[in-house]
């Protein structure tokens, strides 16, 4: 067996051990408390999850919430990018947008959700909420990426009269990609958290949020834990898929630029 292979196996084993350690801690605390309503054991939660998996409602709820949250994420990504590009090219747009972005960032999620409930149907609340979470982050990061494009290369492009699309490919994309990756990484987690929170407040029928709310009302703590696990798993899977797609695109466009950046909040 070669060295990298051994290293990888060791890394996986370490991670498994860490997971096992915390499951053990959870199990021990649960045994000590001895009250399923307060803290069910990991095995009980796994059992509840297995039961849930066998119902069609479970899958429908996942589909319902995922479609909306991912839709909001996609919308945030698209509009955030478009706004950043416009703001980069027109200072007046930047001046106009900046206070809105600051507002979107500073506003408590709960206040926004309650306000949004007045404006739109609860069914679409998670779309708007995840959009509002993602868009300012994407805007700030894409703008920063554009602003960080190498000025000397841009001058070179001007002197050589390089066309817009070639300029984007050669200079802007490599500058944007690390910021874009960071924004997505932060945005994915946030949109799931905020999207589900919106569903818990708005209680749209057939959503994960509604199931979480019911589990809380009827003190079904095992189910509450199971649904939480499901949300975490979906969020991780979604992030992995997005990152995989992004890596493929960035490898094609700008080799090796897709790592090591921290997401920026709008200024």
């Amino acid at each position: 067996m070669n060295k990298p292979h051994i290293k990888r196996i060791r890394s996986y084993s370490e991670r498994l051990l860490v997971v096992f350690f915390w499951l053990l801690v959870w199990e021990l605390i649960s045994r000590r408390i001895k009250q399923v309503i307060i803290l069910p054991s990991p095995l009980m939660v796994a059992d509840a999850l297995l039961q849930l998996c066998q119902t069609s409602g479970f899958w429908k709820a996942i589909l319902f919430s995922s479609l909306r949250i991912i839709g909001g994420f996609g919308l945030g990504l698209t509009i955030g990018t478009m706004l950043a590009v416009t703001a980069y090219n027109f200072n007046i747009i930047k001046l106009l947008i900046t206070p809105l972005m600051k507002l979107a960032q500073a506003m408590p999620v709960a206040s926004f959700i309650i306000l949004a409930l007045i404006w739109i149907k609860s069914k679409n609340l998670s779309v708007l909420t995840s959009f509002m979470m993602v868009m300012p982050i994407v805007y700030a990061n894409i703008y920063q990426g554009l602003a960080s494009a190498d000025e000397k290369l841009l001058q070179m492009a001007r002197v050589f009269r390089i066309g817009r699309w070639r300029r984007v490919k050669a200079i802007y994309l490599p500058a944007i990609v690390p910021h874009f990756v960071a924004a997505i990484s932060v945005g994915v987690g946030l949109c799931w958290k905020a999207g589900i929170a919106a569903e818990v407040i708005g209680i749209p029928s057939g959503s994960i949020g509604q199931r979480l709310y019911e589990a809380k009302i009827y003190l079904m703590t095992k189910e509450l834990f199971a649904w939480t696990a499901v949300i975490i798993i979906i969020s991780i899977i979604f992030e992995r898929i997005v990152m995989l797609l992004l890596n493929l695109v960035s490898k094609k466009g700008s080799k090796g630029a897709a790592n090591g950046h921290t997401a920026n909040q709008p200024d």
């Binding site: 290369l153 001058q155 070179m156 002197v159 390089i162 070639r166 050669a170 490599p174 080799k255 630029a257």
Partner: protein, 191 residues
């Protein structure tokens, strides 16, 4: 038409880099702009390229002309290979074979799929030079194009430059009087 800088003044803050300068570069010839460091040679190049504006004075002979340049720094796309860097400034009719031939003329043979960031300073300089000469500019501005080249390679590059720019207006910024002599260039000194 010759390129003429007339009563040109350029200041950066309190520092006057060019003070009422009058220079003329002959059309269709190689001119070497010389002078000690800090006398504004690169500022002249940037003014000619339109990257900065003069505080006063005028530049004649550049309007409507296309410019190609080797900058003081190489200004290459670091993670791209030499061919891709050159192709960026060429029109679509230029093919890989033509680029390969040009690179070979300046002694660069092994460049396929190698990011220019991995090249030595001299190699990068030659890529920047080939890029400028393949861009088909009416005016070619070369800011210290032989920086980092050893004597043998420099001779090869000078011959390439002379052949490639015959009949074009070329402005070479250099410290070295022998470069001017080897290029058979007009000598213009910024005092």
């Amino acid at each position: 038409m010759d390129i003429r800088l007339i009563n040109l003044t350029k200041r950066f803050g309190d520092k006057t880099v060019l003070d009422n300068v009058n220079i003329s570069f002959a059309e269709g010839r190689i001119s070497c702009l010389m002078g000690p460091s800090g006398r504004g040679k690169t500022t002249v190049a940037n003014l000619l390229m339109g990257l900065i504006k003069p505080d006063s004075g005028t530049i004649e002979g550049c309007r409507g002309k296309t410019i190609a340049a080797v900058f003081q720094e190489d200004r290459l796309i670091e993670h791209w290979d030499a061919e891709k860097n050159i192709r960026l400034v060429c029109d679509k009719s230029v093919d890989s074979e033509q680029i390969r031939e040009e690179l070979q003329k300046v002694g660069i043979n092994d460049y396929k799929s190698k990011a220019v960031v991995s090249f030595s300073g001299g190699m990068r300089r030659r890529v920047a030079l080939v890029r400028a000469l393949m861009a088909r500019g009416d005016i070619i501005i070369l800011d210290e194009p032989f920086k980092g080249l050893d004597d043998a390679v420099k001779m090869q590059v000078i011959e390439y430059l002379k052949t490639k720019t015959r009949g074009k207006t070329v402005i070479v910024i250099t410290h070295d009087r022998t470069d001017a002599a080897l290029l058979n260039a007009d000598l213009i000194t910024l005092e």
